[in-house]
């Protein structure tokens, strides 16, 4: 089949391989558990490391909202944005960082490491990912994109099944 293609942007297999390799190295160096990439509209792109035990779809949506709300708080303070956020729990903590203004890197870690180490290892990782995503977005700009007609037809049939045919 012809694969459906994005109206706005697509996350390709080769992008995924490269990004996962960067994140695997980061998790090892930082002794962190899981790294997740979420787009600013609230959609999960990829997960690396220990598989999450929570609902990833809900997590992605809340992460994007969290980051967006904090962006607005930053502006109220006269800051352009908060490039990173940290949420500390008793056992689990989250460190979030902006990537190219379109994606959020979320790192999940526990007491096997320290915030200092995570922050230290995160900095070059963010720079590397920013460069990869910036190249990806500029490559996708202006490319015409379509899903094929058969995809739309089949998806409409599924909609009728799920929501009724009235």
């Amino acid at each position: 089949m012809t694969a459906p293609r994005a109206a706005s942007w697509a996350f390709h297999e080769e992008d995924s391989v490269r990004i996962r390799s960067v994140l695997i190295d980061f998790l090892r160096d930082a002794s962190a558990r899981t790294a997740l990439l979420v787009d600013r509209a609230g959609q999960m792109l990829t997960t690396v490391g220990e598989p999450p035990t929570f609902d990833p779809t809900a997590f992605a949506s809340l992460t994007a909202a969290d980051f967006s709300a904090n962006d607005q708080l930053a502006r109220l303070l006269g800051e352009g944005d908060f490039g990173t956020l940290f949420h500390q729990g008793e056992k689990e903590s989250l460190y979030l960082a902006d990537i190219a203004r379109r994606v959020i890197l979320v790192v999940l870690f526990d007491n096997r490491t320290t915030l200092g180490l995570v922050k230290l290892r995160m900095r070059p990782t963010v720079i590397e990912l920013t460069s990869i995503f910036t190249a990806m977005f500029s490559r996708d700009t202006g490319t015409s994109s379509h899903v094929d007609a058969s995809f739309v037809g089949e998806a409409e049939d599924e909609l009728d099944k799920l929501f009724g045919t009235s």
Binding site: M1, A3, P4, R5, A6, A7, S8, W9, A10, F11, H12, E13, D15, S16, V17, D39, R40, A41, G42, Q43, M44, L45, T46, D55, T57, A58, S61, L62, A64, A65, S68, A69, Q72, H146, V147, D148, A149, S150, F151, V152, E154, A155, E156, E158, L159, D160, L162, F163, G164, S166
Partner: protein
């Protein structure tokens, strides 16, 4: 904007329910959540105040299943209706693929409807989106109430239509949901387009799935 993830073979689309406070946006999502098969839905998340007014958003993912190798999902969001939560409303519109405007049919909510519609246009413009080019439907909710305004009055206030400049789109287009009416037609020498509308009583589910299905199909078509 919709994201095609070739690595995880997923397509995700974002639909936002917009409208005045207490108009029934959350009720729409709650009904969908209640009726859709458990295997096709995720968690319904509500960031609400203690009095159950939406503070930030409600979120419900609905799974269409795997279509031509791609797991296809619609992410449904509502925004807070109250004007003073505008910052949250605007944030939720980021990356939107389709909009449902849930209007409150009651005559005394006319001003609130108009204000919310204007606010929707403003917030979309600030994101750089053109609402006239995006999948967009209107739901006239609370049709069962005795003080519900006539549909013609709601249409005239909330869905007067916009001028169609694109010559290719200047053709008589029947409204598939309202027999005998048109989505695109010529009025006094000017081509005008309006959006599909649906009557609803969301608390009992009337019109909820008709609305969702219509906007979902428009979103799918926009991918093509």
């Amino acid at each position: 904007m919709s994201l095609v993830n070739y690595a995880s073979r997923e397509i995700n689309c974002k639909i936002v329910y917009y409208g005045p406070g207490l108009g029934g946006k959350t009720t729409n999502l709650e009904y969908v959540y209640e009726k859709v098969a458990p295997s096709s839905k995720g968690k319904l998340i509500s960031l609400a105040t203690e009095t159950e007014r939406t503070l930030f958003f409600d979120f419900l993912p609905v799974d269409l299943g795997t279509i031509r190798g791609f797991r296809t999902r619609f992410h449904l969001y509502t925004v807070p209706g109250q004007v003073y939560y505008n910052a949250s409303r605007k944030l939720i519109l980021k990356g939107v693929d389709g909009v449902v405007f849930v209007a409150d049919s009651q005559i005394d909510r006319t001003e609130a409807n108009l204000e919310a519609m204007q606010n929707l246009y403003d917030n979309m413009t600030q994101h750089g989106y053109d609402l006239t080019r995006l999948p967009f439907v209107i739901q006239y909710n609370k049709r069962d109430l005795p003080n519900a305004a006539p549909i013609a009055a709601l249409d005239s206030a909330l869905n007067p239509g916009w001028t169609v400049a694109d010559v290719e789109r200047q053709k008589l287009t029947p409204d598939p949901y309202r027999p005998g009416e048109y989505l695109v037609r010529e009025v006094d020498g000017v081509w005008v387009e309006r959006v599909p509308t649906f009557e609803a009583v969301a608390v009992r589910g009337d019109g909820v799935f008709d609305t969702l299905k219509a906007v979902s199909k428009l979103v799918l078509k926009s991918l093509g």
